[in-house]
Point group: C2
Chain length 189, copies 2
Amino acid sequence: MAEREGPRPGGRSARVQASVHRAARDLLARMDRAEVTIPLIAAEAGVTPSTIYRRWGELNELLADVAVERLRPDMEPVETGSGRGDLLAWAEQYAEEMSSGIGREMIRDVLAAEGAAGPRRCCGYARQQIAVIAGRAEARGEVFPDIDTILDGVIAPILFRILFDEALGLERVGSLVAGVFATVERRAA
Amino acid sequence: MAEREGPRPGGRSARVQASVHRAARDLLARMDRAEVTIPLIAAEAGVTPSTIYRRWGELNELLADVAVERLRPDMEPVETGSGRGDLLAWAEQYAEEMSSGIGREMIRDVLAAEGAAGPRRCCGYARQQIAVIAGRAEARGEVFPDIDTILDGVIAPILFRILFDEALGLERVGSLVAGVFATVERRAA
DNA sequence: CTCCAAACGCAAAGAATTTGCTTTTAGCGC
DNA sequence: GCGCTAAAAGCAAATTCTTTGCGTTTGGAG
């Protein structure tokens, strides 16, 4: 589906990356995020710290890398029979995953890294999933909101509240979905 | 207006905090963000590093502290004659400030810190400013959207795009404002 | 099979962080 | 005013993390 960014699979480089990623995930699960250091991860992964420093530069970059990978959706949105139902189900699950403690931390890790590549990829993941739902809706001949409208009207508030305020409850997520549909349906009429 | 959180003004503690904040701001303006370290800030501020370590713990916390302070609005939203005009003007300025390089960095600094206190305060700043606009509109007897509606419908997309995608242009900000007004006006009719 | 470039390990040097102890300072009761 | 006290800062040693030079290993290409 998407092309890998790293080195060819199977090489030494790929093995090291995999074991470092796994070590980081394990340590994050086992101890407080503030206690995790590069030397620790290196020891857990069975490599020397300098290897990690040379590849990732600093802890934030590595953790961001790990977080982006964990944030990648591992399945297609469930089908409920209608585009609106699909979107609601997917958005509710998205909101729940993201507002969990671990989800919140992953978002922060992604945002804390240097460039904008990580956040963009995460945005791309959401866009992709919504595109799948939109495609199915279109195939059924339904009216369905523009993807950017959904990003602004549903995803943005969910993430904004998680990051800056307090996570939205499921019923508020439902209202957001209702909102983007109300606008598009009114426009279609 | 709001009570200070720090120690009493005028004490030694307050002087140290002020000089450290100023030193951090100066250094951030003068050099790359990745080059700024606690020992550097300490030297610039004329204190020992251990003072900073004891008070803030780590660089992120200090920078978040500085960023939150810089993000605090320093004036009331300008008056344009209508609530909608006020909101549009304020939102456009907000979007511009936040999407500038320095604004983006400050947001990231705030989000990178440990607790949720910093982000909440930033959200509170926006809420406060919007409340001022809403109050003026109400005094004129206008229909005006709920503050949370504006947070979700205008602020959230602005920040979401800055953080995860690409900053919105001014005309898109205008669309967002139009959107929340369309909904509330339709409801009022 | 041999060579090459990329990536890793090792270890020393350099920088940041932590910590115990001492000294300073601002506020408080007398 | 005058000490007294608790909080905060300075200092310096110990620890931990980060950077870097150099030799070695490894996987792939010719």
